[in-house]
Amino acid sequence: MFLGGLKFNYLGKMSVQIEKIDETKYRIPKTYKPGMLVDGIIYSDERLLPDLLKDKAVEQVANVAFLPGIVKHSLAMPDIHWGYGFPIGGVAATNIDKSGVISPGGVGFDINCGVRLLKTRLFYDEIRPKIDDLINSLYNYIPSGVGSRGNINLKGAEGKRILEKGAAWAVEKGFGTKQDLEHTEEKGQIKGANPDEISPRAYERGKTQAGTLGSGNHFLEIQRIDKIFDTEIASLLNLEKDQIMVMIHTGSRGFGHQVCTDHVKIMLNCLCKYGIEVPDRQLACAPVTSKEGKAYLGAMNCAANYAWANRQIIMHKTREVFEKVLRQSWEQMGMNLIYDVAHNMAKIETHIVDGKEMRLCVHRKGATRAFGPDNPTLPNRYKKMGQPVIIPGDMGRHSYLLAGTQKAMEETFGSTCHGAGRLKSRTQAIKTLDKRQIFNELKAKGIVIRTTGRDTIAEEAPQAYKDVNNVVDIVDNSGLARKICRVKPVGVIKG
């Protein structure tokens, strides 16, 4: 169906042709740019589309369609915005057995940046007078901010073991329990990590940064459940309105950034070596089965494991702070992990494409895996409902817990959005927003905030983001995930 054949001009230079497929889906036909191997498909709606067309994100969806071996479509989730190489919110799968490529730019520098959601048996009214204490103690106990350093010992062989064992390493060191691993994507320990592919500089950067939150959009939030959408699943998970949750958003820190930088350099040479033409150097790539492809995958998996260990340590430290402030054990407070999901990863997965099983390298750059019910990789507890999907919003509005669907398996290789998506650039936010006013607005909403960076409060202001409610409505309406409940922040730590 071709509705209107809209031609949008942006930045006054280029124009891109977008066809509306239905209320939540738009197509960039592969005829748009010579070299595109497949169509681009963007999940959006009429409300969000105008903002999307303001920057270069749509062009990036078209660029990703050049990747050798790409199957079905170059996909973009509704939180899509301008990134580097891939758009943020981009999903692309390549056929490994047909020389499909892997691209570090399709993962990003913050390898396995992701989110975990921890529930409690506490209710908002019980902890309301203690929120200040909790946030101050968490802020003092968990290092955050620019270049934050931790006190986790990664000397000698430990530096390698964390890369091979991920969150399981953290559990061995006393940060959490085996049950936590069951509720983590890949059990927090992806196979195929190869520490031999890690440079000395990456080791050096990783040595002091485990158990640290970092800065930018990374956060730790205490939240209350504000609305239940699916009562059946909510009751299966023992979730009720006003229950307290904790959400943690961070990744692989300087370690992952270095792994990506090292391998982008290697892959730049692969473009010529394998005769690959891409319109943006940040899309540098190599066949998954090539020497360079395997090296990157082995290194990327190390960084993914480092990130899972990082979130595991931070989560367990959060439990310790709750114990100290509320004088109960974390087990008594029911501080159990609901799930941990990666949203910057490339993974080897098997999917059905055109009726055939295919081994694919699925890149999710600012996109969350959202496997549907009965998927064998899910823990028994979640087999019936589908994979829990955690979508953080901004620090003044909401975040969501959703469940993966069969439709996502069919349309997006089991993927959905990863957040609200930025609307204003950081410099624009700092220039146009008043920090004191944002602080007061949050306070009036009952949100306690601590930040390390001088300008973080403006950079991360709710006004700098799209409304996550609109973004999640699109994934729910298009069937890429279904809403379980919505949470609202009551205490926020930003780096």
Binding site: I88, G147, H257, T261, R281, Q282, S425, Q428
Partner: protein
């Protein structure tokens, strides 16, 4: 007079446009722009100045643009790994594909510097170097 660098908008990240009368100056100004994003000096004593650590940097790449990517990546990575802030840059050798420099670093400590932005990485996205009539210009996007 030519500005050493300026910043440009990018939705999720930040870009710098650096300028230089020659390519060496261009590479130096791009580095200063990057360090300006990371932190700003609050106070420094003569003693701090005497205690700078000098590190020899040697970077190679396939072409000038990739050389800029590698140069900035190396400086950023050193700064994050060792908590350092560049204080003096001396380029000793410069060709289209190699750069050798002595960079003197100061300790990046919160008492001396206002820490501003954690740059995750230098990207190759839209990275370009142009020769204008009187000067050179480079554009680089950083992941933050």
């Amino acid at each position: 007079m030519l500005n050493p660098y300026e910043f440009f908008e990018h939705t999720a990240d930040i870009g710098i446009k650096a300028f230089g009368r020659d390519r060496e100056e261009l590479f130096m100004n791009a580095a200063w722009g990057m360090f300006f994003l990371i932190a700003e000096l609050k106070i420094r004593t003569q003693q701090d100045y005497n205690n700078l650590t000098t590190i020899a940097i040697n970077v190679r790449a396939n072409n000038l643009e990739e050389l800029l990517f590698s140069w900035l990546s190396e400086l950023l990575s050193l700064s994050d790994a060792k908590r350092l802030m560049a204080s003096r840059i001396q380029i000793k050798e410069f060709t289209e594909t190699t750069i050798t420099a002595d960079v003197s670093f100061d300790k990046l400590e919160p008492k001396k510097y206002n820490l501003k932005t954690e740059i995750k990485a230098v990207t190759c996205h839209k990275l370009k170097i142009e020769a204008k009539d009187q000067y050179f210009q480079a554009e680089v996007v950083f992941d933050i």
